[in-house]
């Protein structure tokens, strides 16, 4: 037969899978951390856990769908404001209502923005979406900064604690474990999505969007769906943040936090879901440490900026890219060929 077909059977390569190891390590740390650190640090790490959800929402957009969003804080902040207003104006602070309301706020805001930016007649350019989301985030920040009803530049304090029944969720170990459980659920739901047949479409889209249109895929619809899902996660994160910090301000929906979401993703390793979590831990830990070091106290953001620049410029796959192969990052989506080996009717006897 033709020489191109004479490649011969290959020995299956079974490289060590890194993702399950990283997942196990992070999960162990997540469970053990409050038992190992002080109450003060437990509160700091809870904030990291909440920000990790925001970072995952960015990763779903950029790392998996090629949507460069510079406005994830918009959904985060908007949800934070909505639940803060509900608490302050109506006294509604029940966990089972607050969390879905935060998610719905993020979802609807992302649907509104996504409708304009992603669902046009033509597939939008990356730069158009980046500038569009950046502008929306900036405009929202300016708007709330000048709006007295929501506290203007001072933001809004949330005076009540989140409640489950009559139990008040103060920042501390219980809040930590609830936030950690929600992060695990967000991670698992996102992982389920990106490893499904839907995720295969996203993986194809990242490599050749035009090709997918010729298969019949409406690429913009897939992008818009992921964008809305990511907005919902950012909203969930923002609702938790408002109660954990007891405060929500214009900065929580503006370009600085939006840019942090981008940095968390790129620094940790986009397109992995785990990378953004590592990115949050790394950036927030470095910030926390540097800001307390006498030698760099006055200029620590510059030091942080240089570290981020070096990693993002020299390792575009982020910290996780040091241990994760490109093949494992993209993954496989089918049942695989094992079934063929188990059922030779189609392979070697020509019966097919």
């Amino acid at each position: 037969m033709a020489d191109i077909a004479q490649s011969g059977p290959k020995i299956a390569r079974r490289p060590t899978r890194v993702i399950p190891i990283v997942e196990a390590v992070l999960l162990a740390l997540l469970i053990a951390m409050p038992l190992l650190v002080s109450d003060f640090l437990t509160v700091i790490i809870t904030r990291m856990i909440i920000l990790a959800m925001l970072a995952i929402s960015f990763d779903l957009c950029w790392g998996y769908s090629g949507i460069m969003t510079f406005g994830q804080a918009l959904y985060f902040g908007m949800a934070g404001y909505v639940v803060a207003l509900l608490a302050n104006k109506t006294g509604f602070v029940q966990f089972w209502g607050v969390i879905p309301i935060g998610m719905a706020t993020g979802l609807l805001a992302a649907l509104f923005i996504g409708w304009f930016l992603l669902l046009g007649k033509r597939t939008p350019e990356i730069i158009f979406v980046a500038l569009g989301t950046l502008t929306a985030s900036y405009a929202a920040e300016r708007m709330v900064a000048g709006w007295q009803w929501v506290g203007a530049g001072n933001g809004m304090s949330v005076f009540d604690f989140l409640k489950i029944g009559d139990y008040e969720l103060e920042p501390g170990i219980v809040f930590y474990y609830i936030a950690a459980a929600i992060l695990v659920l967000v991670y698992l739901a996102s992982r389920y999505l990106v490893r499904s047949q839907f995720g295969l479409v996203l993986a194809g889209m990242r490599q050749n969007e035009e090709r997918l249109a010729f298969f019949g895929y409406k690429v913009q619809v897939f992008k818009a769906l992921v964008f809305c899902f990511a907005g919902m996660i950012a909203g969930l994160s923002g609702a938790l943040y408002a109660y954990h910090e007891g405060f929500i301000g214009p900065g929580s929906m503006g370009i600085v936090l939006s840019t942090y979401a981008v940095l968390y993703g790129l620094f940790g390793g986009a397109g992995t879901l785990l990378g953004p979590i590592i990115g949050v831990i790394a950036i927030e830990s470095i910030s926390f440490t540097l800001s307390d070091l006498d030698a760099v106290k006055s200029f620590w953001p510059v030091v942080l900026g240089v570290i981020l620049l070096v990693v993002v410029a020299y390792k575009p796959t982020g910290l996780l890219g040091f241990v994760l192969s490109q093949r494992e990052r993209i993954g496989t989506f089918g049942i695989g060929t094992a079934r063929r080996d188990a059922n030779p009717r189609k392979s070697d006897d020509g019966a097919a």
Binding site: S196, T332, G334, A352
Partner: protein, 244 residues
Amino acid sequence: MALLEVQGVGKTFGALRALDGVDVSVRANTFHGLIGPNGSGKSTLLKAIAGAHLADDGTITFDGSDITKMRAADRARRGLSLKFQITAVLPELSVYDNLLLSIQADEPVWALVRSRSRGEAHDRVMDALERFRLADRADDLAGELSHGLQQWLEIAMALMRRPKLLLLDEPTGGMSPEERRATGELLMPIKADCALVIVEHDLDFIKDICDHLTVLDQGRVLDDGTVAEIEASPKVQEVYTTRV
């Protein structure tokens, strides 16, 4: 009734009139070749049919529907499938996943999220891998395949959707004579299920597999007929002896 009817189609790029009043008719279950010198408009016509370019004038009717202004994705959903001139497999996905991706395009989004058709698709993917002699490379990345195997993979991907009309742009480009012969063998069995419009520079290959030929020259139809009629056409002979 013809499966595909191209009537008076024109396409201009800046000062270049790439297609000028082109008429082509393709019947179901036939292989139709588009031939002509370089720059005659063959690939442009194929892209206008597939929706990569929108025709400036004229109409394109496919399976009874006017698709002239329809988007590529909608044309694909109606049964048009295109294999690009430059191979466009997805290089960082496995061979298996490339085929799975091409097969599941008609699934509702929710079914894709739940991966409901992964099991059903498996047998079809495995059959295609066997048929296109790619079974041993199923787990390899598509980008690791040789050029010839990438061409076969792309033809397989185009066929996975069970199209009514397959559009192939130079499917044997860069292949050895042996590989071209094998490609012809792979294509012939599909005639029972779909029609084929093929752009190809290898005239021997195209004469072997096609029922009907349309010759383009400078964006216009120079001649149209069966292989025997085209071979005997003085107009075609003149173009091929003086300019090719």
